[in-house]
């Protein structure tokens, strides 16, 4: 599967994102472990934002 690489804002490492990623998918930086949520822009651009922390109302 083809991937694009986006720079990790925490450590500068390369976060790999599958090209067929779905908005909201969680990806991680293999270097520092930071978790990011994928944001897909109107032009199909892939950006990362820090993933939400686990909330007290999270679950099933």
């Amino acid at each position: 599967m083809k991937k694009v690489e986006v720079e990790c804002e925490q450590c500068g490492g390369q976060v790999q994102v599958p090209k067929d990623v779905i908005a909201g998918e969680i990806v991680g930086c293999k270097d520092c472990g930071s978790e990011y949520e994928v944001v897909i822009g109107a032009q199909g651009t892939i950006e990362l934002k820090s993933a939400e922390q686990v909330g007290e109302d999270w679950g099933e």
């Binding site: 779905i22 908005a23 909201g24 998918e25 969680i26 949520e37 944001v39 993933a51 939400e52 909330g55 007290e56 109302d57 999270w58 679950g59 099933e60």
Partner: protein, 280 residues
């Protein structure tokens, strides 16, 4: 029929549901609700049916209601989500319809909580009314332990001042998770507690195995699903000397653990049920 899978954190479950919908030639779209907004006064919706799959209970409840307001059918409905997302409301629904469930009390202060626990006897279990994955669930062996847990609750959080306390049920080192889709059992697994933990949640490392249930037990679980309003549900039950007791019904069920050890396609059953719901 147009299907929307609404979510706020994409898990394997949501991806499997989308894949299955495509395989069944269902017109399906994904909606990350965090990047969307909803017109509550428009009464029009692009979707006929919505699978509400938010990981946040509060968000999911309001997303379900918003879609319903716009005229879509939602699985699970906001009412089912409301009951299942609050352990106290679910206990009331189960008990009222005669489903065997652990003895449970609710109190609204630390003093009331100690009174409730003393009434139940020890050991006992203290749970948050909202939350999942066994988080902040505490087994207390005696009054001293109970006091420590109760005092650790934060006074500033209104939900932390709801003290939902339950008898500790003696059971084998496992419980039963049954995934109910409509009026059918899609999968049933035993969840074994991991070493060093009394909780069985797969999220805590609990191991899964296919479960064998009697016809009577299956009937009980299906009835439990019906009394909270029905839909796509995860019914949790324990085996006791006096028979099965249902302790929880989950409204946004995670099924990757069950899917890995049981035959049949859970996503396929869910998509089929959603499409049937849209036609009603």
């Amino acid at each position: 029929m147009r299907l929307t899978i609404a979510y706020d954190r994409l898990r394997l479950e949501e991806k499997l549901l989308l894949e299955e919908a495509k395989a069944m030639n269902v017109e399906a779209s994904m909606e990350d609700v965090k990047t969307a907004s909803f017109d509550l006064t428009a009464a029009e919706c692009r979707s006929d049916v919505v699978l509400q799959r938010c990981i946040s209970h509060v968000r999911g409840l309001h997303v379900a209601a918003a879609y319903e307001g716009m005229g879509a059918r939602v699985v699970n409905s906001s009412e089912v989500t409301r009951l299942c997302g609050d352990k106290m409301l679910a206990t009331i629904a189960l008990a009222r319809e005669g489903i065997p469930t652990p003895r449970t009390r609710i109190a609204f202060s630390a003093e009331g909580a100690m009174q409730a626990l003393d009434g139940l006897g020890y050991p006992a279990v203290i749970k948050p009314v909202i939350g999942s994955w066994g988080r902040l669930v505490a087994k207390v062996r005696d009054r001293d332990e109970a006091q420590t847990v109760i005092e650790s609750r934060r006074a500033e959080d209104p939900y932390d001042q709801l003290f939902y306390v339950q008898e500790y049920v003696r059971r084998p080192p496992r419980d039963v998770r049954v995934i109910v889709v409509g009026d059918r059992i899609a999968a049933a697994i035993y969840r074994y507690q991991p070493d060093g933990d009394w909780r069985t949640n797969v999220a805590r490392g609990g191991k899964a195995e296919p479960a064998k249930m009697s016809g009577e037990e299956q009937e009980l679980v299906l009835k439990a699903a019906r009394v909270v309003g029905g839909g796509v549900l995860g019914v949790d039950a324990m085996e006791t000397e006096k028979g099965m007791v249902v302790h929880e019904v989950n409204g946004t069920v995670e099924f990757k653990g069950a899917a890995s050890v049981t035959p049949g396609s859970i996503p396929k059953e869910i998509i089929r049920y959603a499409m049937e719901t849209a036609k009603r």
